[in-house]
């Protein structure tokens, strides 16, 4: 059973899109999966939102429509099979739009709202105000599920620095954020600002939000008024800059149906002065300052007082912070759960059954199968092999073998790999690397809202709606789950669905997406987080301080019997060589390695050969560089055993299995100093040297040459700590604790 959502026009940052994304996050936490579908979509959101024609409703599914003006979806909803619901934020005012080109659309929107009443079983208003409109429109019981605000997204460090600097001044600044429609009453904001100007001639009014094109006259009037800045549509970071530059946030709206701007202002630590109408009173609930009449001269005095009286401002802000604590996602989740429960959509209870001798465990991983390379995937396969005797395992994964495209190369459905049941789900959409890279360049390093982050995550993939439906429908049949790699939505959107029975193996390293707040629930909601190294745990501590209970479990390394000579003969290698094994791509730091190696060859006449083994997606041809392509496991071990050192140029490592494997056969490591994990291994083992640049790479190789025999002994000592028995015991311990809870 899924809970799908229909949105007329999906544009990130707009209320219906914002509500749909928030609702989906809340639904996941309540154990329900569902897709987002829209009649039209903003370019770049195609992975996050499916076109309406892709909607397939299965028996028992729910379809929730986010109603808005100009929507063609009510007719579609009425003829959609399954159970139906309406989510309502509000519609433009008939009174304010009388005689305007929008009048007929506004009337039609209201008629559509009444027309759906008799045909839906669930009505949700985003505020008490919106719910009362639903009730007046013929919906029997309307539930109120307010949107939430994530306070951390509005902290000072999220403000776009350029706009923050531009707007920063000591002048009295009124700010207003949100679409400038008739309902925002720009004329009232201007009237108030003119009164403030009479008290403070240097006062400013900053308005952020797209202006309704039919309000051209008013916009020109604003442009002529001294001290007024109309910013138009702004990004999330700019929005935070506007809020944080304000002395007071003013709201003159009379029909705001969600109160979300007031919540955002409270999260941005700016005092709120709001007309007490629509959802304002219930959102503020005594916080900020509300007024019941628009007396601009008097309000100007109050606004100036709020902006300048430090004691008054301090009291108001303290009250707003207190109110904000009650406006978090937990409240919305609770209200949504109650609304769903009222129509029999509660979270399915976990069947009580005696504890089995072997718990049934689902392993969630993005790819799985023979020949699939990748650190997390290899770790998952190794763990499955070692935990099989203790657990009844089913691997839940994609049909992909290639992590760059997620192309569905393996058949969907159940199969067996080395005697283990594997359930594969098709990926909805190939990963468009060009589009993903372009979007990454656009969003990384900027502050984003939840929708923008989820749009990137969806683009990254793999999109496995079958997996999410399986977890929401059959999740209760598993005793527990182990989910690998926080980064991919195959895990990130699975964990909340079954969080109370999930152990997360995040394989996290310091990378841009780890800064997304959207990943917080992946680290905070599972039963436990299992890190591979102390450095990874420290990183998680720093980034998500409210993470679930966490421990370092590491991995095991068991080298086979090695024959270094076999490798030399097979690949015709003479003299010393440095060996890298893994994907030969930019993201792994190969360009830096090649640069260092060029410097080494120039500086050292008998420089060792640089041997690269793995699939290549870049040109590495250079003097002294040998490219072997993918090598067998036996060749890898033989090669490592005979190498002068293993080189690990990747700046992003959560474990570095290659380093541990090299240590296990007595080979030192030369690793990238940017990776805290490699620095940690080098320090703890005393069998590795790290480098920052080409010059230090030359020094590192020189030191390994001089101290290789000492380092080899230290390497073996260090590797002996990484034994599979200890790792398996740790996983079993965590699973047993969860199962027997």
């Amino acid at each position: 059973m899924a809970v799908h959502q229909l949105v007329p026009h999906f544009h990130l940052g707009e209320p219906t899109a914002q509500a749909a994304v928030q609702f989906r996050a809340l639904l996941r936490r309540l154990g329900h999966w569902g897709g987002l579908y829209a009649a039209s979509r903003e370019p770049g959101t195609e992975a996050l939102v499916q076109p309406l024609r892709a909607l397939r409703v299965q028996p028992g599914d729910w379809v929730l429509l986010h109603h808005a003006m100009g929507s063609s979806l009510p007719a579609r909803l009425l003829h959609t099979p399954g159970r139906r619901g309406v989510v309502f934020h509000g519609l433009p005012s008939v009174r304010l739009n009388r005689g305007t080109p929008a009048e007929r659309a506004v009337l039609a929107g209201r008629a559509q709202l009444s027309g759906m009443a008799a045909h839906v079983s669930l009505a949700i208003g985003l505020s008490g105000f919106a719910s009362s409109e639903l009730s007046r429109s013929g919906y029997g019981e309307a539930h109120t599920v307010p949107l939430f605000v994530e306070a951390e997204r509005f902290s000072e460090d999220r403000a776009e620095p350029a706009l923050r600097a531009r707007l920063g001044s000591g002048a009295q600044t009124l700010v207003s954020v949100g679409p400038v429609t008739r309902e925002a009453h720009l004329e009232d904001l201007l009237a108030l600002h003119r009164e403030v100007l009479r008290i403070r001639p240097d006062a400013r009014l900053v308005v952020a939000g797209a202006v309704d094109p039919t309000l051209g006259g008013l916009e020109s009037e604003a442009a002529r008024t001294p001290g007024v800045t109309m910013l138009g549509q702004v990004s999330h970071g700019q929005q935070v800059a506007v809020y944080r530059s304000g002395s007071v946030l003013v709201s003159m709206g009379e029909q705001d149906g969600s109160g979300v701007r007031l919540m955002e202002a409270m999260a941005s630590d700016v005092p709120v002065l709001a007309y007490s109408a629509g959802a304002a009173a219930e959102t503020l609930d005594g916080a900020g300052v509300a007024f019941d009449e628009k007396r601009f001269a008097l309000l100007a005095e109050v606004a100036v007082q709020l902006g300048t009286d430090a004691r008054l401002r301090g009291r108001v802000l303290a009250g707003q912070r207190k109110r904000l604590r009650a406006l978090g996602p937990e409240r919305s989740e609770e209200r949504l759960a109650a609304a769903l429960e009222s129509v029999g959509l509660g979270r399915p209870p976990r069947p009580r059954r005696p504890v089995r001798r072997r718990p049934r465990v689902g392993i969630v991983v993005q790819r799985y199968g023979p020949g699939i390379t990748g650190g997390a995937e290899a770790l998952a396969a190794q763990l499955v092999a070692r935990l099989r005797p203790h657990w009844d395992i089913q691997v839940l994964t994609s049909c992909a073998t290639d992590h760059l495209t997620w192309a569905n190369e393996l058949p969907a459905g159940e199969s067996r790999v080395d005697g283990v049941s594997v359930l594969r789900f098709t990926n909805l959409r190939p990963r468009p690397m060009g589009e993903l890279n372009a979007r990454s360049r656009r969003v990384f390093g900027h502050s984003l809202d939840l929708g923008e982050e989820e749009a990137w995550m969806a683009l990254q993939g793999p999109l496995l709606p079958g997996l999410w439906r399986h977890l929401s429908e059959h999740g209760a049949e598993y005793d527990g789950f182990v989910a690998f790699t926080y980064l991919f939505v195959s895990t990130a959107w699975s964990v909340p669905l079954v969080a109370d029975r999930t152990l997360l193996v995040p394989t996290a390293h310091d990378e841009e997406p780890l800064r997304f707040d959207a990943y917080a629930e992946v680290f905070e909601r599972p039963r436990a987080v299992l890190a591979l190294t102390p450095e990874e745990l420290e990183l998680i501590d720093r980034r998500f301080p409210r993470h679930a209970r966490a421990r370092v479990v590491g991995v095991g390394v068991e080298p086979p019997v090695v024959e270094p000579g076999r490798f030399r003969t097979r690949f015709e290698l003479r003299g010393d060589y440095l060996l890298y094994v893994g994907r030969v791509e930019r993201g792994k730091g190969i360009p830096g390695l090649l640069e260092g190696y060029r410097r080494l060859r120039a500086a050292v006449p008998d420089a060792p050969t640089l041997v690269l083994a793995g699939d290549a997606s870049m040109d590495v041809r250079a003097e002294g560089v040998r490219m072997l392509g993918r090598v067998s496991e036996a060749d890898k071990w033989d090669g490592l055993a005979g190498a002068l050192a293993a080189v690990i140029p990747s700046p992003k490592e959560s474990l570095s299995l290659l380093a541990l494997e090299a240590f296990a056969v007595g080979t030192p490591m030369v690793g990238n100093a940017v990776s805290e994990v490699l620095v940690g291994h080098a320090k703890r083992s005393r069998a590795g040297v790290t480098f920052q640049d080409a010059a230090s790479f030359v020094e590192a190789v020189g030191r390994v040459r001089r101290e290789r025999s000492v380092m080899a002994r230290a390497a073996r000592r260090y590797a002996s700590r990484y034994r599979w028995e200890r790792v398996v015991d740790a996983y079993r311990e965590e699973m047993d604790a969860m199962v027997r809870r």
Partner: protein, 144 residues
Amino acid sequence: MKLLGRHIDAGALLRAARERLDARGIRDEALSVETEPEPVLEPLSFLVRALEEDEDPTVPVPAAERGAPASLVRRMFRLACQSLIDEALERQRRFNARVREADAQLSAELIQLRARLETLEGSQRKGKRAARPAPRKPRRNRRG
């Protein structure tokens, strides 16, 4: 005007603001705000009216909805080719009229049926209540 807020001394804040206003010699007036709730529309009747408004495709769209320059070009074109346009649109107009008539007929029937159903259900409920024996009043203990 009232100020509302749990963390402010609303009376004192308002008094101080009024005093400052008086000192500046400014009289303030309240903007009148309509507080009537938005209308609720009966969808079937609304659709009949909406179809009626757009029934005749030969009626030009108001200039306000298109912008003056585009409207002027259209008007000139119309003047030149009105008879051809009318001929082409006549069939569309007839079709629209039939659709509106059909919708009006069907929705009127539906509204009437809903009302009859409601009446019938109401009288059925009344009948059931009447058939049920009246609950016996609890006997009171008489004193004395």
